[in-house]
Subunit: 199 residues, 2 copies
């Protein structure tokens, strides 16, 4: 089967079409880069991977290998089939956006995952009417017994990866998160490229 | 100030306009009824209360008194100002919908919160292009240290309530959740009306 290697440029997005049954391997090339991830039904893009429907299905705050993400129509869309990254993949937090950086004190432009999503879809000629809550690969958001959340440093390492099986024909979209104020991409605030492979 | 008392009929929705500064009191009249809750900017309804943006703001799985929910533009929309219900208000689970009931084995029609939301907004002449993840008032979804979730029975009691302050002119929408298969509305599966007051 043909294999396609693709780059998610630092602080930018990328999207690609994936056929049902293909596997998508997302590689944390430099080890500490959060990759916001979305998936859309290729035939009807208002059907998308839904974190709230997925949590209601697998009954966990975080997916484990074998768990299937569901769409807003409750259909299977992506199954996590391999993961050697430590498993810290957040389902709770919104994609960063310009208003978020305003709250963090940024003036002027700041790259952000929301814009990256829509630009990456736009490059495929696709528009969607909202910004779904993303699957934040490699993003470490721990919780306490009383439900307190935190922005923690990554537990992934260079070259670690997560692999998904496509459960329908879909469009996958990624953003190499440009967050350089909170420590989610590591304490240095360095943001890097990442890669993905469709096989 | 004028006070408006309104009913959320059993298994149905209701919506109303609320001015900035008004308070909305949601009453669990019979004690064990989950009330899915949404809020939309009255001037631009594609700006809505976002659970993923709110968790990223108050850094909790569940809001406590004093916490402010944020929109998908990161602006304050509702602040929880009083709560005598035990505080089990879920932010994690999608509104129930017909595909959800199919997965639970229901054939034919089943009332559902998604349809109730859109019908309630429609009665005000409002349409929205997606179904935001709801604030599930009185819905008890516990988590474990390893992140396992469960559908638990309510901890609220008859007449207990939560009160919110509107932080902008908004449209609030509710659904008295018709879930009668899982125990979230109590072990008997009885679904009831609830009430709200705008003051």
């Amino acid at each position: 089967m043909a294999t396609t290697h693709l780059t998610i440029p630092a602080r930018r997005g990328a999207a690609a079409r994936v056929a049902a049954g293909q596997r998508v391997k997302v590689i944390n090339t430099h080890g500490s880069q959060v990759v916001d991830t979305w998936a859309f039904n290729a035939r009807e893009v208002t059907e998308w991977m839904s974190m709230e429907a997925s949590r209601a299905w697998f009954l966990k705050l975080r997916a484990a290998v074998g768990d299937t993400f569901r769409t807003n129509q409750r259909r299977p869309i992506l199954t996590l089939v391999e993961d050697n990254s430590g498993g810290a993949h957040d389902t709770l937090m919104a994609a960063c956006d310009l208003p978020r950086y305003r709250l963090l004190g940024v003036e002027g432009h700041h790259d952000n995952c929301r814009d990256n999503l829509h630009a990456a879809l736009g490059a495929l000629g696709v528009t969607v009417p909202a910004t779904p809550s993303p699957l934040n690969l490699f993003m470490n958001i721990p919780w306490t017994p009383d439900g307190t959340l935190a922005w923690a440093e990554p537990v992934s390492t260079p070259g670690s990866y997560a692999v998904f099986r496509a459960e329908m024909d879909l469009i996958v979209a990624f953003s190499a998160c440009p967050q350089d104020i909170l420590p989610i991409n590591g304490r240095t605030g360095q943001t890097t490229e990442a890669h993905f492979v469709i096989e």
